[in-house]
Structure formats: structure tokens, C-alpha cells
Symmetry: C2
Subunit: 334 residues, 2 copies
């Protein structure tokens, strides 16, 4: 079932059939009807491989994200995909599993598949990007970036939300704030930690290295972090985790220890995911606009594909105060 069959049935050459099928203007009325009719009758479906071997475009973009199971990235994937549809792109989605090696395999496969562009929330450093950069495929970073590249990006403001959270907690009287950081192999992990440390200095909170725990953005490490921090000789009265999955793990540990969040301990989560509003009390969270992030990433990519060099954009983040952040149990100064 090829264009040859369609041409034969329509009584024209493959060239004419091709022109009709791809909407080329130079076709006669008769040719158009004959070919269209033959194509539908035969249920002809052009072979995208052959087409993109001739043209240089595949009408697909690659999307490499660290973890679909993270609601933030699920929302982001959805936003990217819906926006890509507007430009007739199919989104080829790869899930790196928070693992640089799997990420690099996906980059590789997507280059091999000749995607027209690539959107990634990358991990690691320049060495992981070698292939992508060398290929020259239009690329945009989203959420995370890799230092020392000129790749345009759409990222959240990783400091304002954290700063507001620390100010909020200290104004309530908290001085010991436990922080479950993201991996330092990611820009978001690094920037959020830096913002946290800065905020400590700016307020009267304890700047105690023991209150820091390094996780990997996955739920298990949030649980490990909470366990570690709560067992400290001088434990925190407030907990802050750098993404939603680690927040989930940490909350589970608080629950299993009978520590009531919003009463015995204050908790601030990163990312405003729907489930967090269901907790009782609902969680105070650091929120950013994931839909805008996905949409803008696609918009930037289309510009790069068009040969332009768009400006990177940073989206605001802010603290949404709900019930999970009371003053410390012993009173403001404890």
C-alpha cells in the first residue's frame, strides 16, 4: 500500500499523486478528485519515514523529563504536549527516571530518530549534552538547565518562593528549619539550596549544617530525610522539602511517627499539587505555573527551529500559605 498504488488507481503518475496528497498548488481539479478518491478508497497512509527522509522534518519533538510519576512533571508533560499539538508536532516522550545514563540514552535515540527539536529538564553537566550540542538539533531547557550552555530555557524563579517560606516560618518564631534538598547534579537542586542558605542568613534562623539533608527528588529520599532530621538531638520545628515527591515521603514519616503536621510540626512543600490541598490541614506550598512553563518551552522551541535565538524566561514562584505552618509548639522563641 504505497503512493504507487494510489497513483495507479487514480490513473496519474506518482509525482502527481504526491502533489495532490501533500497539497501542492500545481494540480488540476481532476487530478485532485481522482487521487483523493483513490487514497480514501485504498485507506492510504503515507509512510512518515520515507517522507522525512526526503524532507528534513519529522514533525516530532522529543521531550525528556526526569520522572513522569512526579506530578509536577506529569503536568509539565501534559502542558508541553497540548501546546505542541497546536504546531502539529507529535511529542515523543522519554522518561529519564532521574538517571543521567537513561537520560543520555534517550537523547541518543531521539537524535537518531531525527526529532525536529528537543525539550529537556536535564541532569548532569556539559558532557551529558555533547551529543545534543554537536548534532545542532534545536533545543530548549525547561525547569532545569545545564550551566555554560547557550540553550534557551524556561525556568522557575528558584529563590523567591524559598525566601518567602523561610521568612514566613521565622516570623512565626521557627528557628530550626530542616531542609530536604534536591540533588546537586540539578540546577533546581542547587539553586533552591542556595536560596535556602541565603534566607537563613537574612533571618534569625539557625544556620546549622545538621539541618540539611540531601535527597534525590524521589519519595524514598524524602522519607529518609525526615527520619534523619527528626532524630537529631536538637530536631527542627519546621520542615521544607525541595520537591513534591520528597514532600510526600517526608509527610508519610511524620504521620507514621504520630507527628501531626500543622500542629506538632510545620511543613512547607514544593509544587502546588492537587493532593496537597486535600491534607488536613492543607499544605503550605511553594507554587509556580507549570502550564505556562510547558507552553513557553514549546513556544521558545518553535522559535529556535525557525532559526531565531529567543530570550530565556524565568517564571515567578510564590508561597501559598495554608494550614500546615503553625508557630513552633513551645511558643515563638521555644
Amino acid at each position: 500500500m504505497t503512493i504507487r498504488n494510489v497513483a495507479d488507481k487514480a490513473g496519474v503518475s506518482v509525482a502527481t499523486a504526491s502533489r495532490v496528497l501533500s497539497g501542492h498548488p500545481s494540480t488540476s481539479e481532476e487530478a485532485r478528485t481522482a487521487v483523493s478518491e483513490a487514497a480514501t478508497k485504498l485507506g492510504f497512509r503515507p509512510n512518515a519515514q520515507a517522507r522525512s527522509l526526503r524532507k528534513t522534518s519529522t514533525q516530532t519533538i522529543g521531550l525528556v523529563l526526569p520522572d513522569v510519576r512526579n506530578p509536577f512533571f506529569a503536568d509539565l508533560a501534559h502542558a508541553v504536549e497540548q501546546r505542541a499539538r497546536d504546531f502539529k508536532y507529535l511529542t515523543l516522550f522519554g522518561n529519564a527516571n532521574e538517571d543521567a545514563e537513561q537520560q543520555d540514552r534517550y537523547f541518543d535515540v531521539m537524535l537518531t530518530q531525527r526529532v525536529d527539536g528537543l525539550i529537556a529538564a536535564p541532569q548532569g553537566d556539559l558532557t551529558d549534552l555533547q551529543g545534543v550540542l554537536a548534532s545542532g538539533v534545536p533545543t530548549v531547557f525547561v525547569d532545569r538547565v545545564i550551566a555554560n550552555t547557550t540553550v534557551p530555557s524556561v525556568t522557575p524563579d528558584n529563590s523567591t518562593g524559598i525566601q518567602e517560606a523561610v521568612r514566613h516560618l521565622t516570623s512565626l518564631g521557627h528557628r530550626r528549619i530542616g531542609y530536604i534538598a534536591g540533588p546537586q547534579s540539578t540546577s533546581t537542586g542547587r539553586e533552591r539550596l542556595a536560596a535556602f542558605l541565603n534566607a537563613l542568613k537574612e533571618t534569625n534562623a539557625d544556620d546549622d549544617g545538621a539541618l540539611l539533608f540531601f535527597g534525590d527528588f524521589q519519595s524514598g529520599s524524602g522519607a529518609a530525610g525526615a527520619r534523619h532530621l527528626l532524630e537529631l538531638p536538637h530536631p527542627p520545628t519546621a520542615l521544607l522539602a525541595a520537591d513534591s515527591l520528597m514532600s510526600i515521603g517526608a509527610i508519610a514519616v511524620c504521620n507514621e511517627r504520630g507527628l501531626a503536621i500543622g500542629k506538632d510540626i510545620a511543613f512547607v512543600a514544593y509544587d502546588d499539587i492537587e493532593a496537597f490541598t486535600l491534607l488536613n490541614p492543607a499544605l503550605t506550598v511553594i507554587s509556580h505555573d507549570v502550564d505556562a512553563m510547558g507552553r513557553l518551552a514549546v513556544d521558545l522551541l518553535t522559535q529556535v527551529i525557525a532559526g531565531n535565538n529567543p530570550e530565556s524566561v524565568i517564571l515567578p514562584s510564590r508561597l501559598i500559605i495554608r494550614g500546615s505552618t503553625p508557630p513552633p509548639p513551645g511558643g515563638p522563641t521555644q
Copy 2:
């Protein structure tokens, strides 16, 4: 940068270069080293389009799911993708947004892209499958099926969990159980509703049509359902929702009305997602093994691709009782 350049640099023909590059046994030691060296030096990356135009395989499988933002499907996507990797398949992922039209567009594009196989949690009826069936592309259904096809499938047992839930609730003394059903355009929506209605007959629960609300598996409809049911003149003392997103919406409504789940009202959710264990009390849920589902779907697909006709499998589901299902407030008989 094509295989021609590699061949030239290595001083062999493109045929020999191709053989070395694709691991064909009939190659000399010298050819192998010369070509490999040239390829790495040049950073050669074979064009997948050209290759799959010659071979008939693209080493990709298509995965069409209704909604990435549904944690159940995010987990399923992850499971499928990880298993597909074992077979060197790249997973081309499409998100149908619980919409038959978007689903059909994805089917279309994936056929055009000549995926080697298709895994789908489909919506609608046979007409939506025409193209897929006509193309003859190896296909497996997962989670949901479409009636009157011979497509192998991996599905959950949609009745046991529901039956256990209704028995559990009635044994506690509940007689008015509100049910937020899934869309009847999906097999899971239909089967779970049938199981619920059967369970009502089998127990002494009220078989009252007013206690049924039809949602669309998305969170907004869960909220609408809870609102509707709770405003009934004779409202339910227990709520059961047919998926996790509708559960989330319904729980939000209970919270906003000050109805304490696990005290003022009993709640059973479908799908054992991590966030549900964080609620206080944790939710009683109907659980099934999403990892096994994804893994088996890929395994079945590889068998179909190999030309076999594997048996469909049904995975068990069961009730996990946690704190959200107390007896009705007025006592066993109310």
C-alpha cells in the same frame, strides 16, 4: 554526515561500512576496526528514518493513554516504558486527554510513524479502532478494552475490589453508598458500575438510583459528584469513586464542607496512590498492581509482534482497609 563519509574515511564501500555498523558477521577484522574508528571520529549517527525505510521495523512502540496527570496512568506509563527498554524499544507516548478525538489523532500519527506495536488504554468503540485494526499493527490493550475485538489485553479485575468494598461498608452498617461512576464509554467505567450494582443486590444496601453519579474520570467530575450526592434529601453515609482523580475531587468537596472523612463520612477510593496514604486517616482503597500491568502489556505486545497470539490476562484487585471507612455516624442501622 552519512554512512558514505564513514565508508570513505575507512577506505571501504558503504556496503561494508553498513555491515560493520549493524554488526553483520561477515566482516574482516581490518574492516571492523577501520569503520568503527572512522564512525567514532566522525561522530556518525545512523539515520533511523533511512534504516527503517529499508528494514520494516522502527524499534518504537506507541503508548496511548487517557491522562498522564492521573497518577495511575503515570505509573503505568513508567512501567511500560521501563519494560520496553528491556526489548530496546523506545516508547512514543501520546496523551489522549480522556478524549476520543485526540486519541484517534494519536492512533493516526503513530500508524503514520510506523510504530512496531501499539499499547493503548482505549476509549470509545470499534469505529475508533478502524484504522488501527485495518493497519494490522500489533496491538495490546491495557487497563481498558474495546468490545468485539480480538486484541489481547491486560486488565484489572474490575469486580472483586468493588464487591469487597461494598461488603466492607455494609458489614459496618452502611446502607446508603454513593457511587461516582466512570464514563460508560470506557470498559472500566462500565464494569465497575456493573460490579457495584451487583454488590448492592447481594448485600442489604439501598439500591437507589439517586445514589449514582456519572463522572468522566477527571477530578472536576468527582467534585461535582460529591456535591450532588451530599445534597441529596437522604444523602449517603459512604462514598465510593471509580478512579483516583475523581476521588481527589470528591475529597476536596468533603473537606470544604467540613465533613471529616473517616468520621462524618466513609470514603473508598480507587487505585492505591501514594498521596492517599498521607491523608489522616489514610484512605481505604481498591488496589491493583500497576507495575505488573505495564510489564505484562509489553510482554504480550512482544509476543504479538513475534506473530503469536497470547492469552489476555486479568490481574486481581483487592480492598485495602485503612482509616477512612468507619461505621455510619448514627450507628449500624442509622
